[in-house]
Subunit: 347 residues, 2 copies
């Protein structure tokens, strides 16, 4: 409740002097400074953030619009990412203004509104699209942002991304080494940049082995477990079913496992399954899931740091970071661990 004015009155000095004393300027007498600090302390003075913001025309706030798919929205990705940017933002003195918006045309309003009303100084973007209206808009008006993920188009914006092609190459190597030739893939909608990259990456990697994925073995899901289940059923119903199914995220991979188990297939023996994300339950499921690990928390934290650097006018050394993910080999593709486990479970 305390304001500079109140302190000024108590101290018998002007508001200006109080302000300067509090900021440690050296053109204030030691006694005044001491007194001012004392009184400010007593009154529990904290600057009014809105006055500050109005005055300096910036908000020290970062916008983060979470793209949702529906009310039942629980992708574990977001909490971990949010923790990454949240903790970092707090550390650097920034607030995070979060809102949620279903993917779609009016999603952009959510950004425009925040820009126009001076609510935020910059944005963090996730789930980039190949043709991304958000990126185009922000680039156009030259508004600061950092994205997790690349996009098509020529705007040279700052981003952190995971090397999806490299990841798919590791998966392909692994599966081929295990003897798989008929491999299916469950992708996500084509407009999502990562879905596209992963699909292409897998195809290219298999191409090196003179293998390819038949069109019928490529299905598109919506990233939920349910949809992984549905799409893998289509695949498994095929007259010439695959021996391995790669999914572009873990949630759908669990759907695949569920579908396969439903029809009596033993994962790791009759069918190999690979996911992508390494969400916590990937480690503890039965069977545990072979998948690609991305350091989500770290990525969130890095993206946030880069943005703050940009906001502060310190151009970051690297504006485009590409991180190599790791392949985590567990039980769902077979090999030694699985056969052991299967015996245990069925005994």
């Amino acid at each position: 409740m305390a304001t500079l004015k109140e302190i000024a009155e108590k101290v018998g000095k002007s508001v200006t002097t109080v302000s300067r004393a509090l900021h440690g300027y050296d053109d204030v007498s030691p006694e005044t400074r001491l007194l001012v600090n004392q009184v400010a302390e007593d009154l529990g003075y904290t600057p009014n953030i809105n006055a500050l913001r109005l005055q300096k025309q910036s908000t020290d706030t970062i916008g983060f619009v979470i793209p949702t798919y529906g009310p039942r929205f629980t992708d574990p990705f977001f909490t971990e990412f949010l923790a990454g940017i949240g903790n970092t933002a707090t550390r650097l003195g920034y607030d995070i203004l979060v809102s949620t918006h279903p993917i779609g045309d009016e999603e952009l309003f959510s950004y425009q509104n925040k820009v126009n009303s001076y609510r935020v100084d910059g944005f963090i973007l996730v789930r980039t699209r190949r043709d991304d209206a958000r990126i185009k808009y922000l680039c156009n008006i030259n508004f600061p942002f950092v994205a997790f993920g690349r996009s098509e188009g020529e705007c040279p914006y700052a981003f952190v991304d995971v090397d999806n092609r490299y990841a798919m190459k590791m998966i392909a190597d692994h599966l081929v080494k295990l003897g798989h030739q008929r491999i299916a893939y469950i992708s996500a909608p084509d407009y999502l940049m990562f879905a596209n990259e992963r699909l292409e990456g897998l195809q290219e990697a298999l191409h090196e082995y003179e293998l390819s994925i038949p069109d019928a073995m490529i299905r598109v899901g919506n990233l939920t477990q349910m949809s992984g289940l549905e799409q893998s059923e289509v695949i498994l119903n095929h007259p010439d079913p695959p021996t391995a199914i790669v999914s572009c995220n873990d949630l759908m991979a669990f759907g695949v496992i569920r579908a396969a188990q439903k029809r009596g297939l033993v994962i790791g023996k009759d069918l190999a399954v690979v996911g992508y994300d390494d969400i916590p339950q990937a480690e503890h499921s039965i069977p545990s899931l072979t998948t690609i690990h991305q350091p989500i928390y770290k990525i969130g934290s890095t993206v946030c740091e880069m943005l703050v650097q940009i906001l502060r006018g310190e151009e970051p050394e690297v504006r485009q970071k590409v991180i190599k993910p790791t392949l985590i080999i567990r039980e769902s593709c077979g090999g030694h661990p699985v056969s052991v486990l299967v015996k245990e479970v069925n005994s």
Copy 2:
């Protein structure tokens, strides 16, 4: 970039008149109003939110501090809850200021800081504690908030809660009906209000059947899958192990399942497992999990609505809502569904 002043200059009127025209006051000539609106439109005028906030001394912003347990933080609860409050807040014209903070003493600073610097008009609290410093603080300074969950202490604050005792009664009834007598429980730290209520609820319900849980059969986990696994191992190593294990959340229940399967127990036959939360994978896991369903999205939405009502000075009809959850019976406790499934899987 446009301000009232600019519009005023373009139109040749005063700032005041422009302001009034834009707000639809009726003491502005129709021509002026039309012109002003026209120019405002052309210039893409949006009010400067910080000026507005400074002027009316409120922020239309709701604070939400997510209590975290560590960097790897992916409780699906939070995204769903966040979607609930986020969508509702947007609809009602409020912003959500999110921050994350590890549970602990300095968690309170995060609240005090936001209050003192006028960053938010009110808070939404989750994961209430029996002795909750946040609640005490906010009650003390009479700052608006609504919580998901009750607390001990005499402050009559507004909350939404799930009837935990009722939920545990349903679980007890179900298990006893299936013939279980030796039941174990994996709880969460005692300071968490819900953990305490659920434990007491289960004990009371079993008491009606003249049953009780031996001390050795009550273990405390930290809500993660890993910890469910660890605690259930202790329980299962007991010379006289239980036939059913109830966990106070789904994540730990999955840990229990994992531990049991590791030692060759068939869930639903050798051991019944019950969770709490009904997170998405509860439905799709193998075996699927019998658990308590709470409408998290709806609760988030309701909590947000109540808070906005309070902020607007409209006292909500009910300040303390208690919701009855539902028991979702699936495969993990056995009965018909499981035996069928087990055959399928093992065939």
